[in-house]
Point group: C2
Chain length 283, copies 2
């Protein structure tokens, strides 16, 4: 690896850059970002060496796409148009069906590997980049059979050396399941934050009463609205399904309370308590 | 302080016992609990010295009530019936209107101080007790004027020495506000857990895809159903109000998505993003 291009140098791309530096200490890392201050900061803190543009990536050994998913579907074909047969292109997006669909018939399809590293924080921008963000995390790879074997191998070597666990999945199943375990949590947190903030307009002291439980439940409401709007747009159908189920579960819980059916309320909570075992592997 | 009785020796009472040991190293600590194994464990790990029963508390210098709030309203009058004029009785419950109401006319009302320490974890039982749980946390005290000045002073000295910040509030406002910043978060987490678990019945591998964001949002769904059923029962009216607002915000978000109004979706998230500043003081 001599030349690596990272398109979108925020939390995800920036943290990946830190790992790339360790794996390929001699490589030159170029950054492409539509926010000029991201480039300046990323150079200042050493995430990248230089700014670049998409028109100059023909000499890339590797291109990493870590931009909002609705932009990625426009940029990926442009990237594939310009690279050599040896270039590995990966994306890091939270949705996988659209990105896979946008290059199905592209003549360079075999240069692309669709990835979703299940890692992140609620912060954004190059300053939020963390060393070791991907260590011990799962990387979901979609349509692996459509990537050339040589480039698969190259990518897997990299992922293994930064400590990621690999899982293969088809893009449609990915988007369906991730709506439950990731996208819905974000909406639940954002709307919890909204409900409490709306209240606070009149009752100023309310947050003084909040504890670590509230902080944990609402944490994801700090997430970047640009990133998440594009995810919600692309995974609309699946997310609407999860939202319907969530709202219906909340409405049922409300009904139990209204009817003073506290045996029912207790049962609802007891049945959900085994989330303890499920979470054991995650936290 | 020579004799301290803790009624309910779980996470809250047990953690408080650890602080009491430090403040009053010579005091004898007695435990009362309806779960026999709690007593055995609490003695084994040194939270308490001996088991006791409510009928033996007449020699107490201090009595701490840390039991589910619907039981506390039954036990508190019994406790007050038996203590001396010098005994300080405090409770640690998450609702305050009912407990204050249940002793309004009790002749020993001045021996009772209604407290709600905003502290806890999602775990329960004596083994979950943590040293320093209350350090730096807020203790909300209700109807302070109804407690004798001497006993107020005694309690405040204790709270200060274990590092708590004191805040005074009337019990009705307490219950209204805490419904937003604490009780609603629990329902939101429990129902998120339920929604995802229900799905998992058919799709076994789904949790493999969950990350730290999901774990954080759903964390409170590990909480004790007995504790929380009694809180929901006692604060029903306020909680139903918060649930209505939460469901209506989620439904509005869903509608924006259905109408492809992603400018609206973005705005909803952006408006809630300032939760960052609000959370700064809590985490």
């Amino acid at each position: 690896m001599e030349k690596i291009y990272i398109i979108g140098i925020g939390l995800i791309g920036g943290s990946f850059a830190k790992d790339l530096r360790k794996c390929y200490p001699k490589a030159q890392i170029f950054g492409i970002d539509t926010t000029p201050s991201h480039i300046t900061e990323a150079i200042r803190i050493g995430l990248i060496d230089e700014e670049a543009t998409i028109s100059t990536i023909e000499d890339a050994d590797m291109v990493v796409l870590s931009i909002p998913v609705d932009t990625a579907v426009k940029v990926l074909p442009e990237v594939l148009d310009q690279i050599t047969d040896q270039t590995l292109v990966i994306d890091m997006g939270s949705t996988k069906a659209s990105i896979c669909a946008c290059v199905t018939t592209h003549e360079k399809r075999r240069n692309f590997l669709a990835c979703h590293p299940i890692a992140g924080t609620e912060f954004s921008g190059p300053m939020a980049a963390i060393e070791g963000l991907y260590r011990g995390k799962t990387n979901i790879i979609c349509e692996v059979e459509k990537t050339s074997f040589k480039l698969q191998e190259k990518a897997l070597q990299l992922f293994t050396s930064i400590g990621m666990r690999i899982r293969y999945m088809d893009p449609v199943s990915h988007d369906k399941h991730i709506a439950y375990v990731s996208h819905l949590s974000h909406i639940s947190a954002f709307m919890l934050g909204k409900t409490v903030i709306d209240k606070e307009k009149n009752e100023r002291d309310i947050f003084d009463m909040a504890g670590s439980g509230f902080a944990s439940t609402v944490r994801l409401a700090k997430s970047n609205p640009v990133t998440w709007t594009s995810i919600f747009k692309q995974n609309k159908k699946n997310i609407l399904e999860t939202l319907d189920e969530y709202i219906s579960n909340l409405t049922h819980f409300k009904k139990l309370m209204q009817e003073d059916n506290f045996t029912g309320v207790h049962k609802e909570m007891e049945n959900t308590n085994h989330i303890k075992e499920i979470l054991k592997g995650i936290e």
